[in-house]
Symmetry: C2
Subunit: 322 residues, 2 copies
Amino acid sequence: MTSILIIGGGGMIGQKLASSYAKSETVSLLDMTFPENSDLNVKKILGSVSDASIMEKTLNELPGTIFYLASIVSGEAETNFSKGWDINVHAFWSFLAQIRDQYLKSEGRYKPKVIFTSSIAVFGSPFPNKISDDFLTAPRTSYGAQKVCCELMLNDFIRKGFCEGLAIRLPTICVRPGKPNLAASSFFSGIIREPLNGLKANLPVSTDVRHWHASPRSAVGFLRHAESLDRNALTFNSALNMPGLSCTVEEQIEALRSIAGNEAAKLIMSKPDEKIIEIVKGWPKNFDTKIALELGFIAESSFEEIIQIYIEDDLQSNLIKN
Amino acid sequence: MTSILIIGGGGMIGQKLASSYAKSETVSLLDMTFPENSDLNVKKILGSVSDASIMEKTLNELPGTIFYLASIVSGEAETNFSKGWDINVHAFWSFLAQIRDQYLKSEGRYKPKVIFTSSIAVFGSPFPNKISDDFLTAPRTSYGAQKVCCELMLNDFIRKGFCEGLAIRLPTICVRPGKPNLAASSFFSGIIREPLNGLKANLPVSTDVRHWHASPRSAVGFLRHAESLDRNALTFNSALNMPGLSCTVEEQIEALRSIAGNEAAKLIMSKPDEKIIEIVKGWPKNFDTKIALELGFIAESSFEEIIQIYIEDDLQSNLIKN
């Protein structure tokens, strides 16, 4: 039995990941808040990643695998400059430094596997038609720059042998259940989720915006698959682009229409937001994720499939609970 | 009259840069040590970049241009992991954060130009024949990773408008005057400098090693030219590769032979060093620095020229002083 720590375990992906492990492994979650109605049988540690004493206490348990998902989201990192860098980079550094302390204290016997969720926001325009595995990381947002810094730090700790692990660059995860968040990408989920729940949704960009998506179920799959790989056998440097689906907002809306009908699609209201238009303009549209596919990472092949996964995993279980 | 601060001003490039400005501008230098025999008429501030109070006091003078050259060198950053990250990244972050504090305190009236010296160590193998301006930064050393982090941080501060500036990626600077240092690249200077001074020199790598060089005079030229550019008019992201000369160690030795004769070349002793061989293996060999050349940055076009510059700028003036 492996002992698993999920930092940022109170978030949407963290909860689904915890749920996937809860029956077979010892799971601990660290986060500032947890969902109230969670019936997960796991240890919950309440605290911030920037609180060194909480982090030290948590790492003293010597978890074998650590998923590091905690992050200030893109929109908030852009608005709150200091908070973004403090939480997204400096707290991650402190975490890694504590891992190294434990490694040195144990004379190398403690060497956990650290899986870090980076993002396709590490890339900045201009883009080729498809972004390849060796495309330049030239982010155009604070969030993107912060993620690259973390990738480089983790990579250097791995190279020096203080931990094992991998940084994976997630596509925009869609359809997220629950409420909109401060991520600039939040609307990609909102325009599907709200109509499926009979609610109106605002679309802040034009329908020809193309972007790169994968479902929450795929995200959990990526994380678990990354954990199962032997990093020492991998030849690439830094971080790995995850597979996904490239589609336009228009294709998203048509997929919604084909599944939920015209009335659902009509609930999407165009409401341009210059700030979001500007951020999204700098985001990647399509990828060739050759290495990840060869390593066995898989994602959806149609947006209909992504919507069906939301209906199966989140919408229906919500209806049952309510 | 501009007020110029050179952080790391006690080093070789810092001293030459200070000397180039000393007659026309107000120059301050911050460093942990300064050369004893320096007759430069500039203000010297003794202290570490990791001492926040010294940094604050120094920045309270509101220098209009800041050259940030301070760094733990590559070899030491590889040996002393914590010190490398602390000085090369965390101290640079604190510096930028203090710049931002001054910017906010002055309601945007104080907005200095920050020129940061990055390095071609930001690149890692495998390399194409010539590295282009949009080649991936995938460093294979702690020093390289640290330099990329600093580039990203500076870039984000510039993008947010807290300062102006530019990060420039220096070739290996050669021929360095003075004593060998802890940089893994130190021998590239040693095999020329020592023989020209009648001393033996160790060559830790094989003669077919190809690398990317520019003289100290060019380095000063790059920094001054970077300072003169309008960053807002530049369209690229992150940092800029500086021009240089690609040559093999054998070509270096032949250039030495043609200038100083066979007796000088015979003073170079092969003494393989596995650690240096390994580090240098991961370094770039050649570049296509299209953007920098278009912007007017210039370097040497032969290694003979690089040796002549050492003789003119350092060897002869040393002979006169002694």
